[in-house]
């Protein structure tokens, strides 16, 4: 029984006994100016219920008209995913009672998606994995609910809910993979790489800002396990709204461990929706899907069919941007990086950031060094994506320039970045406020050098006697005395000069 109390199994152990099968459903809010079926603005973060009209509120008599730009973006996403584009298809009503849609139905697509049968190749550790795409269809997003009462702000235990319909009706593209088999222990990495690649592709098309933290790209992760050697798939769970690339990977890993624990103890996996928790990296049970949902789909009577003209589709194909994988190879050549370094940058989500930092005036090597070094370390410490760090490519470029011009050394530059991340303002402001400029004027530095020589007569004698290498100890003392703010090269020159060996 599923009531058996079992803990999750270790990941390696789980993979020895079971093979995972994945499925990913990704929702992308399109970046159109207006909603899917009405002229309300789609701007994020507006005051509640200020971007609504009779159409998206489902008021009687209101009629939808499809947004041409949303149809074009969807076809472009389909083409970029190597899909076939339907010659003819319709919208459908998905009927359900849930107050996130004021109409009691969502306009979606059912058995006639706009795009179908495609694939996306992703690279993991130098190996290419082909993820097959089942369908790409267009629908409308739902409103946002605040759950009041209960302890956690979750729907469970809430006394009532408050709904903001600003998001209701924003065009939403759903991209569904076919079951992904044979990834074996790389399943979590494949899931992450797929969403990363998809996100870059959609961003390159300009169809969405694909900000996972703002919910404009959301991922549902389906996982099932089958015993090794079996060809019969197990029961899957669906983990909803996994909101960062890192979480996609963690959710897959956590579900593999959890399901293996259940199966190994003789239990059975329940087909259900699960919720991912960012804090613990685990999933918990949501609503059970044991009773099949009956949405009573039927063709949307208020919208006529879409029949994309082949000339139109061909024109959209010519407008597709350079594919992200091709672009990466080009940048790799331009930056002179090894496959390994480039893959590391890709996995860290650093490519766009480094590119933007170079565009803002930093040398390529410096841009890469800061993002992949100090900033990657800080992102990792805080368990956030690089892009979520509160520092812009322009600010990183400025820090790199200050180092290149000799105003900062690397140690001080790290402190400047720390200040920027702490919200202390632009790099120049942080330098000034924290007094971080390198001390290289001979007056101030000379005083420190004199003091250090006086404090270390033995070392000074050795240097006078010709042991120039011993100067390093005195330079270290100068750096310590100035808390790292001295220009080390100039300090060394001054020491040797004072001791008469320059």
């Amino acid at each position: 029984m599923s009531t058996t109390t079992t803990g999750p199994m270790g990941y390696d152990e789980a993979l020895e006994a079971y093979e995972p099968v994945l499925g990913l459903e990704t929702h992308v809010e399109l970046g159109t100016a207006s909603k899917m079926f009405c002229g309300c603005s789609t701007t994020f973060g507006g005051e509640p219920n200020t971007q609504v009209c009779p159409v998206c509120l489902g008021l009687p008599g209101a009629l939808p008209v499809a947004n041409a730009a949303a149809i074009e973006y969807t076809i472009k996403i389909g083409l970029a995913l190597n899909c076939s584009i339907a010659e003819w298809c319709r919208f459908a009503r998905k009927n359900y009672f849930y107050p996130d849609m004021p109409k009691n139905f969502q306009i979606s697509q059912y058995d006639e998606p706009l795009c179908f049968d495609g694939y996306l190749d992703v690279e993991i550790d130098g190996r290419t994995v082909r993820v097959e795409i089942e369908r790409v269809h267009l629908e409308e997003d739902t409103g946002k609910s605040l759950h009041v009462g209960g302890s956690t702000g979750r729907i469970h235990g809430a006394d009532y809910s408050l709904v903001d319909y600003n998001r209701a009706g924003i065009p939403l593209v759903e991209i569904v993979t076919k079951p992904i088999v044979g990834t074996d222990r790389l399943a979590p990495e494949v899931a992450r790489a797929y969403v990363t690649e998809l996100r870059e592709l959609v961003r390159a098309i300009g169809a969405s800002d694909v900000r996972m933290e703002e919910g404009s790209l959301r991922c549902d992760v389906n996982v099932s396990l089958m015993p090794r050697g079996s060809s019969e798939w197990g029961t899957r769970s669906e983990t909803k709204n996994v909101n960062s690339l890192r979480s996609v990977e963690r959710a897959v890993r956590s579900e593999i461990s959890r399901q293996a624990g259940v199966l190994a103890a003789g239990g059975r996996v329940v087909q259900e929706t699960r919720h991912f928790h960012e804090d613990t990296g685990e999933t918990t049970s949501g609503r059970s899907k044991e009773e099949a949902q009956d949405y009573r789909y039927f063709p949307e009577p208020d919208l006529v069919p879409i029949a994309p003209d082949r000339a139109w589709v061909d024109r959209l194909r010519t407008e597709l941007p350079e594919p992200p994988s091709v672009r990466r190879r080009r940048l790799q050549a331009e930056w002179g990086l090894s496959d390994l370094d480039m893959a590391a940058m890709h996995n860290a989500g650093a490519i766009e950031l480094v590119e933007a930092t170079i565009a803002a005036g930093a040398p390529a090597a410096d841009a890469r060094k800061w993002w992949m070094g100090e900033l990657a370390r800080r992102a990792n410490e805080q368990a956030v994506e690089l892009v979520e760090l509160p520092v812009t490519p322009a600010q990183v470029a400025r820090v790199a320039q200050l180092v290149a011009s000799g105003s900062l050394n690397d140690k001080l530059a790290r402190q400047v970045l720390e200040g920027v991340l702490a919200g202390e303002g632009e790099p120049d402001k942080v330098v000034e406020a924290r007094g971080l400029a390198i001390v290289s004027d001979d007056g101030a530095l000379g005083d420190v050098v004199d003091q250090v020589i006086a404090d270390n007569p033995d070392v000074a004698d050795k240097i006078r006697g010709g042991k120039v290498a011993a100067a390093g100890a005195l330079v270290g003392a100068v750096m310590k005395a100035t808390r790292g703010q001295a220009d080390a090269g100039r300090a060394r020159e001054l020491i040797l000069e004072r001791l008469g060996v320059s």
Partner: protein, 99 residues
């Protein structure tokens, strides 16, 4: 053979959140069966070369350009709501306790 069974009507009523009593189900199942059987006569004239259609007019690709139009004011938007709180629509508890 009936076009729709009483059980199917009960199922649809539940999906539609209609609380129908036993007598109402008996009554409506018969009526719906008559209606569906009447409409089903279309099949007698629709040969294989006539595809099913969902729209009466032979129109496709009716789109609008992606432009912003004025929205309702929030006051107007909320004016018809049975309950509001904090500029939002207030709705009853969504999930029952056991869910």
């Amino acid at each position: 053979m009936s076009a729709i069974t009483r059980d199917e009507v009960a199922h649809l009523a539940r999906l539609s959140r209609l609380a129908l009593g036993e007598e109402e189900l008996d009554h409506l199942a018969g009526q719906l069966d008559d209606i569906i059987s009447a409409v089903a006569r279309v099949r007698e004239v629709a040969a294989d070369d006539i595809p099913p259609s969902s729209h009466a007019l032979p129109l496709v690709n009716v789109f609008r350009a992606d432009g912003i139009r004025p929205c309702l004011s929030r006051e107007d938007a909320l004016s018809q709501a049975p309950a509001t709180e904090g500029d939002r629509f207030k709705v009853p508890r969504i999930l029952d306790e056991e869910a």
